[in-house]
């Protein structure tokens, strides 16, 4: 194991892997932001996905994470089952059905509609029926958008929400981490105070105020950015920035306190005592170690972004899933509510799982027990 040569070659492979992934990811984002359609984007993203998956598998096997993973997947399954049951029951608790309308329909028509959607069956039967279909991957048909399967509504709108969320997440790391590091490295100076003041503003500014100001300035006053819709890179800027401000501020504050913690540790003093340049100490020793708590915060951060995205989608008329959540609940569109709630929960559960695994990979001191 301690063989110098094997250690060298292993790192070599890892380095190549990192570089290739970096280049692929960068081109991937450029290509999808610019909006190149067709084969190129598909091939690029599937290559990235395959490589990521291969890397994960390699690390899972190497670090003996398989039993842990199996356990976590089973837990995730239970979680999602409970969520489906809960939402199902909550929906049936609400008075008023999906086909109530101002004008009362004849009783036979109502009975026929109820029979078609199995709404006349006992609750338990409806529930088992839904679960059975769910296991087959069938989310049912919407009650309001007649004849449209929930899965097709989701596949139409979800990519937009995902795009918005991912861009905002990336933006918040790109802004938050440097801001936090700068603040910490200039601890107790006006730079520190200023950045933390900015971050505090980012946490506390309500998104509709930020959005209003952006629209007033950039759309109405200078007319350089469109105030609504989602039709190209120019349209992305305002929603993504508005959504990203709060997470960026949270990350900046986290990074700052984490860096300050690490700066005081013994190995940093040693590195400085060795006579290393401050820049090297900061980037090679401090930053790497202080990013771990920041990365683990990604779970709650993603939850934050999902919730924030609903508001942003409504404000900027982004055709994502946010609109459907609110409309489907007030419409009593049971399958659509269940589908949307389930999808967001899956997203959250999976991202939490990925964060935990990632955590174990970057910090070998963490032992994930099965």
């Amino acid at each position: 194991m301690g063989d110098k040569f094997s250690a060298f070659s292993k790192n070599h492979i890892l380095d190549i892997y990192k570089i290739v992934m970096g280049i692929l990811l960068a081109t991937g984002f450029v290509v999808s932001v610019i909006g190149v359609d067709g084969m190129l984007t598909t091939i690029l993203w599937s290559t990235i996905g395959a490589l990521l998956f291969a890397g994960m598998i390699f690390l899972v096997i190497k670090q003996h994470l398989l039993p842990y993973l199996i356990k976590r997947f089973m837990e995730a399954g239970v979680t999602l089952l409970v969520i489906v049951t809960l939402v199902f029951l909550l929906l049936r608790l609400m008075p008023g059905g999906p086909f109530d309308s101002e004008r009362a329909l004849p009783a036979e028509v109502m009975a026929n509609i109820a029979a078609k959607y199995k709404l006349d069956a006992p609750l338990l039967e409806q529930y088992t029926h839904y679960l059975g279909n769910l296991l087959k991957g069938d989310l049912g048909e919407s009650y309001k958008y007649l004849g449209r399967p929930v899965s097709s509504i989701i596949s139409d709108t979800f990519p937009v929400s995902l795009q918005l969320g991912v861009y905002a997440l990336i933006l918040s790391y790109l802004i938050g981490i440097p801001l936090g590091v700068i603040a910490a490295s200039k601890h107790n100076t006006w730079v520190d105070t200023g950045s933390m003041f900015l971050a505090m503003g980012g946490v506390t500014l309500p998104s509709f105020l930020v959005a209003s100001l952006f629209i007033l300035i950039f759309s109405f006053q200078f007319q350089i950015l469109p105030p609504a819709l989602w039709e190209g890179p120019l349209y992305y800027i305002l929603p993504v920035v508005t959504l990203g401000i709060r997470p960026a501020a949270i990350i900046a504050r986290l990074t700052r306190s984490s860096v300050l913690d690490v700066i005081r540790s013994d190995f940093v003093r040693t590195a400085r005592a060795k006579g290393l340049a401050e820049r090297v100490v900061l980037f090679k020793h401090v930053l790497r170690n202080s990013l771990i708590p920041v990365l683990t915060y990604s779970g709650p951060l993603i939850a934050d972004i999902i919730s924030g995205a609903f508001i942003i989608e409504i404000i900027f008329a982004v055709p994502g899933m946010g609109r459907h959540l609110i409309l489907s609940v007030t419409n009593r569109d049971y399958p659509l509510v269940l589908g949307v709630a389930l999808l967001f929960s899956v997203l959250l559960v999976v991202s939490n799982l990925l964060v935990d695994i990632f955590y174990a990979i970057v910090d070998p001191r963490i032992k994930l027990a099965a």
């Binding site: 969520i83 609400m94 309500p206 007033l216």
Partner: protein, 315 residues
Amino acid sequence: MGTRIEIKAQTMITSVPNATTAVSPRHNSLWDESYKRLKKNKAAVISAYFILFVIGVAMFAQFLAPYSFDTQNVERILLSPNAQNWLGTDSLGRDIFSRLIFGSRISIAVGIFTAVVSLLMGTVYGAFSGWFGGKIDSLMMRLVDILYSIPALVLLVLAKVTIESLETFKDPELRALFSIFGALSIYGWMGMARIVRGQVLQAKQMQYIEAARSLGISSPSIVMRHILPNILGPIIVTLTFQIPANVMFESFLSFIGLGLQPPYSSWGVLANEGWRSLRTFPHLIISPGIAIFLTMLAFNLFGDGLRDAFDPKTK
């Protein structure tokens, strides 16, 4: 018997901040020390005064507001800020300044009330879970984890609509208000439960608890009289952060049209109305936005100050 243990508990806790700050040993209670540190934090002190001011405005809204929240004046619609209407008027000629003052009542009441309900629910749940530990603990915390995996706004919207459709009150506005209280409380208790449970788990290991146990004090009495007083700091800090979060959530719900309806006023309702006429009358959204921002800022700065005051190690 109990008092002696308590004295021991007090000295154990205070010995830590005393050692690090080395202030004169005359004021040696944890609360005195924390209060002193808090007073030195200018931002926190100013924020505390601002919070008191906002609460005062909310309480005495009817004496402070020049007009009522629903007085319409068709001759004075959609005015920009002027001498008679300090923040202008809306499309029905209602005075924005008065609506903002009355709106603070709902927004602040929702924020504080739901945070307190969450505090009570979460503390009972978390203390129970943490104190019993083992299987009960992991089961109870698993439930919290599961509920936490539902995105906040999905849960809030579902809970809000469900509670509102139950026939709780005859008056639709009262029902809407109650459903907001309910939904935010249902969402808020989980965070508190997690924090209290973690703190109880830590406190359980302390020697003074072992001493209390060996003296044969009953479990409820240990939790109530020895553990809770000692973990009050983190609980208060969490409460301070939960209030602005709830104010924000209320404004979100109202903004997307799920909160109160006009003529009733909350900051979220005002923002929603302002949003619809953003292009032509931007002043309508700016004032509620700034009111929410300043309140959030004050509570957050005060919360930060409290946290640093209770636990001087974190900076």
